[in-house]
Subunit: 329 residues, 2 copies
Amino acid sequence: MTAAAHRPATLDDVARAAGVSRSTASRVIAGTGFASPDARERVVTAADQLGYVPNPAARALVRGGGVRLVVAAAATSAAVLDDPYVHRVVGSAARVCAPAGVGVALHWLPLGDPRGLDQLAADRSVCGVVLVNTTEALLDAVPRSLHGRVASIGIGSAEVPSFDVDNTAGAGAVLRHLYATGRRRIAMVTGPAWLPCSQRPVQAYRHLMRQAGLPERVVDGDFTAARGRAAAEEALRRWPDVDAIFAISDETAFGVIAGLRDGGVRVPGDVAVAGFDDIPLAGMTAPALTTASHPVGRIATAAATAVLAGRPAAPVTLFPSALVTRDSA
Amino acid sequence: MTAAAHRPATLDDVARAAGVSRSTASRVIAGTGFASPDARERVVTAADQLGYVPNPAARALVRGGGVRLVVAAAATSAAVLDDPYVHRVVGSAARVCAPAGVGVALHWLPLGDPRGLDQLAADRSVCGVVLVNTTEALLDAVPRSLHGRVASIGIGSAEVPSFDVDNTAGAGAVLRHLYATGRRRIAMVTGPAWLPCSQRPVQAYRHLMRQAGLPERVVDGDFTAARGRAAAEEALRRWPDVDAIFAISDETAFGVIAGLRDGGVRVPGDVAVAGFDDIPLAGMTAPALTTASHPVGRIATAAATAVLAGRPAAPVTLFPSALVTRDSA
DNA sequence: ATGAAAGCGCTAACAT
DNA sequence: ATGTTAGCGCTTTCAT
């Protein structure tokens, strides 16, 4: 139960203390194979008396299992390593992996050069990979040897299961809400053009606008608040009659609101603004932000769990996006 | 350079391909010991021809190094495992550890029961521990065997080096700013009472107020925006003449602003509000939040680096807190 | 049901 | 300078 031995106990210590062979001790500790009730009892007792904790590294070595799950984030720059969203994925993964004795590592995959994946595949200490900001090129670059132990938060492929929020439906709900509340000249601030999963809402937007006979007004964004601010100015300049702006991230939406304010435009009086994600602060600002909530933690957890399990997951797992109507739209 | 072998190459493969012994190959790969220029050349060539990547788990096993750095967060509930701040620490740590082949794990240490630390100490796959939300009790519970490979983000002890922002100076700067801009009835919303590092700003507050002959007005907080909102109402009720509120986290500050707004109080006209942390959104809201910026990423990076290095670090490393004056105060 | 023995991939004395 | 040898802590046939 206790015993903070200076030198951590090994399985050998346990076996010796229990008066059995290492093999027997291993069987009962790992819960595999047979052992007499008597032996089992003695091993368990010895183990927690010595404060024994199995060494996952040694275990992984012999089983060929690996001790690290790596979160590989594609991006144009290494700044992605400081991204809050990525950190949230890493945190969730770390939480899921800890009980299994698996640690999480964070790698940057330069956009044009997905060779980093080969390294990861060749590293026997890597038990699996969770892709973030996945692109088609990245998917194509996934080595065969990673099949079955890789997952994508974002788009997927035949070999790489996808875990993602239902962006299309989510964007649709936001847009429909804007329409239902009387907005007819709706602009959209997008995510980075190279990021497929951020294009989906754009497609939904274009589709819906066309269908409703409304003008399509898209300005490029990059998820940041600063860009949102600039995007608002641009929107105001190009389309003075704009009455709603849908930003593809809450950060951007807050930037848009700031930009609108700079331009003397009232929100939601003159222009409604909606975000996407529902970050914790979304409900605290003035005006409180209308947005769609996304279970990022659950998505990351599911992806990491699937990779950890090592068996092929469903090709696509979609998580619901839920409209949250507050004051800004 | 390439070669996505189906079975990842081992050191043996490299040695064989290079026509040398495993030891020689090991020496040149690990960069330790001697090797003739010729041998070195051949090993290097063979290695990258085979796409060889060393197995950190095997390496750790023989060197007794460990393959996981664990971030251990003390808290009253497991909810801490989802905390954005903790995730930020984990993310930063993961980034630092990745090149060393070390993964990061996230553990919750229940407040009253720090025995989890013994487990971590007994786990030979754990190369070190970074404590978050450190308390005195936690510090006392750090097993001797962890000494030299543990660090705290927060308070430290003789055995556990501390990496923290200079809370006292930071709070002082904020408070002085409030005073300099004419505020005289300043209230403070604290962090959780059990968290030592959140008490430091409170002490600074009390000290400064006393020194200036100003009343001390403290209301308990817990870092959340919801609590900030309630705290604002409470402050308004207890001290109708309050003219400034200093919240110990930006989230809380936004809650305070919301609460003030609920009460029909203008910010900063009637009451100035200052936060603490400078989260990304702090500059985007209306009013933009006056706060103090804290290099959380750098702190986490320093702590993880120290643990990874394994040699005793300076007892206390203080990071500067920088006042950021915006609109709210 | 249990033990003996081999080996996962690597490093580090110790020889040579 | 290089190879030989012995493990690191564990699981897993294979005998018994």
